[in-house]
Structures are given as structure tokens and as C-alpha cells.
């Protein structure tokens, strides 16, 4: 990395001032444009699916069913978004979720007998929840230490911890599933004031993290760290602390997702949700998160989650006569991710702000201002 690029850049900036100042949008920031586009996409998919399956899709039952399915994925997506904002990625979130769920299940089966009254059960349930969250914290702590303090590239570090955590899950369960207790299932099936519990949890988390990212000092530091870690260091920000906290939060979110896994499936396995990482990455990118770091909003993410859920449920309905609709969905998510990335390539259609993705293993790209003049090989008339 060199530091002596100053001599050749000022002219470009002077030249660009006039142009960019003229092009700068007035009231509507590019974030708003992205959100509007996402909103349109979500509505479009909803309408398309409703038209395709008018008897089943736009029904209250279906809404309820969907609103119970997407929260766990949405929570994982928030976790992925967090780490992506810092320019990294946490590939171990699903492994953390599974581990947390497994340990919670074990606590439940130990402390709560199947026929216990709800009053007795509460203690056990709370203990299980605390254990799960604790697991999330510990796993996130390890991730944060490896990425922030030891300095391992996030991909490799979380690849390693992913293997480690899955390994622990395998050892504890012997490779099979463990089960929850009936009193626990309300977290997955129950309602609070008519709102399904998982949806409530997701809504609370979305609002919470929106506040954290937009209204706290920590949030600002996350965005800036993802944009330029050298400048944050020179500005007196402790990169290590910010990274540690980010991965800690990611782990915590993973644990919460794991709790919901357990509650909805009544079981926890070491390898549940293996395709969730892909879907979470897809949602994050679709929602406007730049994998290089520095940009992304919760609102965009929420719209993206909804879009994906509509698509998923719709596809299920359409393909109900074929076996293997899950396989088709796997194909669809891959195709969609590629599509979204390709669209990003064309500046007019871009969904994400900030640096353009460049080939690399997720390692932050060099500053675009240091690149060649974009008008290279212009020809005189």
C-alpha cells in the first residue's frame, strides 16, 4: 500500500467539482432512490404471486404463515449486514444459531418436564434463553477477537469458527437432533396481541438495529470503519473495539435466530439452515448493503426479506405438483444473487452505494479516488 498519491489527484477533484456538484441530487438522496426501487420490487413480486395464485396467496392464513417463516432469516440477514458494513462477513452465524439452539434444547429438556405447568416451565425457559444468548455472545466474542485483534481475514476466521461451532454441535448431539419441550413452542407458534412472536422479535430487532446504526456513535463508527479503516485509526477510533462489538452483536443475533429455529421446528440440529447463509447474503445485497463495506440500511433489508419471502412462498405454491421445489428454490436464489450483482454493475441501475465490487476474496478494495481517470481513452472529435 502506498501513501504518495496526492500529487496526481487534486486536478481530478478540481475537475470533478463542477460536474458532481451539478449532478448531486437535491432533496432525494440515492438511499431514498434505492428504497423506492426496492419497495416497487417487493410490491411487484407480491402482485405477481397474487395473480398467479389468487386463491391461496393473498389470504390471511398465508400472511400469517409467511410472517412466521421469514423472521429467522431476517435476523440472520441483519447479522450478515452488520459484519458486511465493516467490510467483512460472518459466515458462522448459522453455526452459532444451531449451537445456541442445541444448548437451549438441552437445558430445556433437563429443567422442564413435559407435563410441567407453565409457571414451573418459565424458569426453565428463561434459563434456556439465557444459555442461548450466552452462547451467542461467546461465539461472537471469539469471532471478534480473531478478526479485530488477531487480524485474520473475516472470511477465513469465520470459516474456521463455523467449522469449530458446527463441530461442537456435532459432538454434543452425536450428529442427530435434540428436541425442545412443548412449553417452549409458543415462541415459534404463539401470538402476542395477534402478532406472531417471531415477527414481533424481528420487528423489535429491526427497529433496534436501525436505531443503533443510524443514531449511535457506534453505528457511525461501523459505517466509517467499513469505508476506510486507516482513516478511522488515524481519527482515534479503536478499530479493534468496533470490530469486536460488531461480531459480538452478530453472534447474539445468530443465537436469537437459533432460538426461533428451535421454537418453530421443535428440534435443533448441527446442520440446520445450511442454505441460509446464501439467502442472508442475497437479502443483504438486494437490500442495498455493499459487501465492500460502508453502506446499507435496515429499511432496505426489510424490504428485501419481504421480497424474498413472497418469492419463496409463491414458488412453493407454483411448484407444488413437482417434487423438489426446494431444489428449484436453491437454483433460484443462486440465480437471483447473480442477477442482483450484475445489475449493480451498471451504474444507472445500481442498488448499492459506495465502492463498486471488485474481484477479490471480500478484501476491501482500494479507494476509488486513487484509480485512473474514468475518461481514459476519450477521443477528440
Amino acid at each position: 500500500m502506498t501513501t504518495k498519491q496526492t500529487a496526481s489527484t487534486p486536478e481530478r477533484h478540481d475537475g470533478r467539482v463542477a460536474f458532481l456538484a451539478a449532478a448531486a441530487p437535491r432533496r432525494l438522496s440515492s438511499v431514498d432512490v434505492t428504497l423506492r426501487r426496492l419497495f416497487i420490487i417487493a410490491v411487484a413480486i407480491f402482485v405477481a404471486m397474487s395473480l398467479a395464485q389468487p386463491d391461496v396467496f393473498p389470504t390471511l392464513d398465508n400472511f400469517r404463515s409467511m410472517s412466521v417463516q421469514f423472521p429467522e432469516l431476517g435476523i440472520l440477514a441483519i447479522a450478515i449486514m452488520l459484519t458486511m458494513l465493516t467490510g467483512g462477513i460472518d459466515l458462522s452465524v448459522t453455526a452459532i444459531a444451531n449451537l445456541a439452539g442445541i444448548l437451549a434444547a438441552l437445558v430445556l429438556t433437563r429443567l422442564v418436564s413435559e407435563d410441567a405447568a407453565t409457571g414451573q416451565a418459565v424458569g426453565g425457559i428463561v434459563a434456556a434463553l439465557l444459555v442461548a444468548l450466552g452462547v451467542g455472545l461467546l461465539c461472537g466474542l471469539l469471532n471478534g477477537l480473531l478478526v479485530g485483534y488477531v487480524g485474520i481475514t473475516p472470511i477465513l476466521a469465520t470459516l474456521g469458527t463455523l467449522t469449530l461451532y458446527t463441530g461442537f454441535s456435532t459432538v454434543i448431539t452425536g450428529g442427530t437432533a435434540v428436541f425442545a419441550v412443548p412449553q417452549f413452542l409458543f415462541i415459534g407458534d404463539g401470538d402476542v396481541a395477534g402478532i406472531p412472536v417471531p415477527l414481533l422479535i424481528f420487528a423489535v430487532l429491526a427497529i433496534l438495529f436501525s436505531i443503533i446504526l443510524n443514531r449511535t456513535a457506534f453505528g457511525l463508527k461501523v459505517y466509517l470503519l467499513g469505508t476506510n479503516p486507516t482513516a478511522t485509526r488515524f481519527s482515534g477510533i479503536s478499530n479493534e473495539t468496533v470490530l469486536l462489538r460488531t461480531y459480538l452483536l452478530s453472534g447474539l443475533l445468530g443465537a436469537i435466530a437459533g432460538i426461533i429455529f428451535l421454537a418453530r421446528n421443535n428440534a435443533a440440529k448441527p446442520d440446520y439452515g445450511s442454505s441460509y447463509i446464501l439467502q442472508a447474503v442475497l437479502i443483504a445485497i438486494l437490500g442495498g448493503v455493499n459487501p465492500m463495506g460502508g453502506f446499507g440500511t435496515i429499511s432496505g433489508l426489510v424490504l428485501a426479506v419481504l421480497s424474498l419471502q413472497f418469492l419463496s412462498t409463491g414458488l412453493n405454491m407454483l411448484l407444488i405438483q413437482y417434487s423438489g421445489s426446494n431444489f428449484f428454490k436453491e437454483f433460484a436464489w443462486g440465480a437471483l444473487l447473480l442477477l442482483v450483482m450484475v445489475i449493480d454493475y451498471f451504474p444507472k441501475l445500481r442498488l448499492t452505494r459506495g465502492k463498486v465490487a471488485t474481484p477479490g476474496a471480500g478484501v476491501p478494495a482500494p479507494d476509488p479516488a486513487l484509480e485512473e481517470d474514468p475518461q481514459r481513452s476519450a477521443h477528440p472529435r
Binding site: 463455523l162 469449530l164 478484501v363
Partner: protein, 334 residues
């Protein structure tokens, strides 16, 4: 000095292997038996071929997680094809088919990475799903147990057969020659072709490579085609050695392969890595995976052990890098 530096990582890995060998053979002398060594080599074949492909990608500064999907796709489709036409000839034809399929899928990767300049991790994350989803939905999801005879006879073909002390036969499959050939070709390409040096150049500094006139797109096209071809061949080998074509197999082991390549000295940021180091890394991982049982550790601990190895294996160089960077910062401050 570069050779010395590379050798340093390779020497470390080699030492680790020797160390482990000593430990395991003390715990259970069976470790040193010919049969076990042949087993270890057998287990290294498929992983080794994958690792060579991944090495080339990582040296260029990218990462690929779709190669396992390419492998199983090529394997399953080839098997179905051979069975469909009831092909009775040599497996060479099968390998050619598998290689071509792998090439085609690799080119899809190349399209997104070279043409659209997208992040390699996310592209291959996407294509992994794309390929596997397509395979399972369109081609089929049935386990095929009666694989073509050509595959079975290939699997039974042995390079060396030795009578062991207890009267049984220990054999090393001829498939190991495939690995040797792949390693040789990879080494030749990386070391002696301009394309290969271009891969290192690309990993070292993309901008400098462009300025020096290296054809970046062509290089990337080659890289992902190469991985595809290797993966296709490896997939078919896997199917043969396992005597079945299971479309749910192989995918899931990407992490082990990447871990092996990184442990063997390749840097995830690109520009560094060698064939020798990669093979050593693979052997290290294979030893860990296979020898736990010998040491009396239940196989459920495999992942834990691999995870710890990855963390330590990447943590130490990262830590050293940080310290070196702090010193370099002073030099750059000038």
C-alpha cells in the same frame, strides 16, 4: 530469497506433518502401517485435485466455493449419460465428459467474474446454489448405486499391491496418478507459462498487471476453466472410488479444501502459494481427519479439530503480519 520464504511455510507444514505422524504413531502404531499410508494417500486424491484448482484461484486473489457443486454436477451427469447410452468402453471417455462439463460450468463463473468484475466470493456462492439447485431439480436427485462398469474397474485398478504382515493385501489405487498428473500440470503452468506468472501478477497487484499488459480477462477465463475441469475430473474420481453417484455428496467439503490450501501457504489476499505447499496442506488435513479414529477420538470431533487448525493456522501468520505491518508503517510514512 523468495524461494527461501516460500520454503519456510512449506517447511513448517512438513514439520507439522512429521510431528503429527510421530504423535499418532506413538498413540497407535497402526498409523505407520503400509495400509494406513495407502489409505491416507487414497483419501488425498480427490481433495488434492480440488485443492490444486482452489490454489490457482487463491493465488489470483480470488476465492471459489462452487467447485464442489461443479464436481458433483459433472459426476452425476456423466454417470447418467454413460448409463443412458450404456457405454461399455474405457473410463477415459467419462473423464473427458466430466472435464467438459466442469469446463462449461467454470466458464459461467468466469463470465461473472471476468466480464462483470464481481466479487469472487459472492459470485461463487451464487453459482454453487445455481449449479446444485439445477442438478437436483432438473437432472435428478436419486442415488445411483449401479454405476457403469468402467467406473468400477477404474476404482479397482491398483498401482501397487503389497502383502502385509498379517497376510492381507494393501493397495494403492491408480487414481493417485491422476493427482500426480494434475499436480504436475498445475506446477508447470504456474511456474513456466506466462499465463501462470500472470496469475501471480494478478494476485500481487491487479493494477500493475493491467499496466504491464497482462490480459486480465483471459487469465481469469483460464483460472475458472481450469478449476472447473479439475473439479469435474475429481468429481468423477470420487464417484468411482465411492462406488456410487450421490448427488447430495461432495458439497459441504469446500471449507476443508480451502483450509488445506491456506494452511499450505497460499495467502487469501493473493499472489502467494505453491503446489508443493498445497499438497502438504491437503496431506495435513487428511491426516487429521483420518487419524483421529486411530487415536481413539470419535469422528464427531473431526470438525472441531479442523476448525482449531484453521484458526491457529491462519491466526499465527495474521498476527505476525500485523506486527510486520506496524513496522512497515514507519517505512511507508516516509
Amino acid at each position: 530469497m523468495l524461494k527461501q520464504k516460500l520454503a519456510k511455510t512449506e517447511v513448517l507444514v512438513a514439520l507439522a506433518i512429521v510431528g503429527l505422524a510421530i504423535i499418532f504413531s506413538v498413540i497407535n502404531p497402526v498409523f505407520l502401517s503400509v495400509r494406513n499410508l495407502f489409505d491416507l494417500l487414497r483419501s488425498s486424491i480427490v481433495m488434492g485435485m480440488f485443492a490444486l484448482g482452489v490454489l490457482v484461484v487463491i493465488v489470483s486473489g480470488g476465492i471459489d466455493v462452487s467447485f464442489t457443486a461443479i464436481a458433483v454436477f459433472a459426476m452425476y451427469v456423466t454417470v447418467k449419460l454413460l448409463k443412458a447410452i450404456d457405454f461399455q468402453g474405457t473410463l477415459l471417455v467419462g473423464f473427458v465428459i466430466a472435464a467438459l462439463i466442469g469446463l462449461a460450468l467454470g466458464l459461467i463463473n468466469a463470465l461473472f467474474i471476468a466480464r462483470f468484475k464481481l466479487s469472487t466470493l459472492i459470485v461463487t456462492l451464487g453459482t454453487q446454489s445455481l449449479f446444485r439447485g439445477f442438478l437436483l431439480f432438473v437432472v435428478g436427485s436419486q442415488l445411483i448405486r449401479d454405476i457403469p462398469d468402467s467406473m468400477t474397474s477404474f476404482a479397482k485398478l491398483n498401482l501397487i499391491t503389497i502383502q502385509t504382515a498379517d497376510g492381507t493385501l494393501a493397495s494403492l489405487p491408480a487414481a493417485v496418478l491422476l493427482l500426480a498428473a494434475a499436480a504436475l500440470v498445475t506446477w508447470l503452468v504456474l511456474q513456466y507459462t506466462l499465463l501462470g506468472r500472470g496469475i501471480y501478477a494478478l494476485g500481487g497487484s491487479r493494477e500493475a498487471a493491467e499496466r504491464a499488459g497482462f490480459p486480465i480477462r483471459r487469465i481469469q477465463l483460464f483460472i475458472y476453466s481450469f478449476v472447473g475441469v479439475l473439479s469435474g475430473i475429481a468429481g468423477l474420481t470420487y464417484g468411482s472410488l465411492n462406488r456410487q453417484a450421490n448427488p447430495f455428496d461432495i458439497v459441504g467439503s469446500e471449507l476443508d479444501v480451502i483450509a488445506a490450501v491456506v494452511l499450505g501457504g497460499a495467502q487469501i489476499t493473493g499472489g502467494r502459494g505453491s503446489v508443493v505447499g498445497t499438497l502438504l496442506g491437503v496431506f495435513l488435513v487428511v491426516i487429521m481427519n483420518n487419524s483421529l479414529i486411530l487415536a481413539g477420538i470419535p469422528s464427531v470431533w473431526q470438525k472441531v479439530v479442523i476448525g482449531v487448525i484453521i484458526i491457529i493456522g491462519t491466526g499465527i501468520p495474521a498476527f505476525q503480519q500485523r506486527r510486520a505491518e506496524r513496522r512497515a508503517r514507519i517505512a511507508l510514512a516516509e
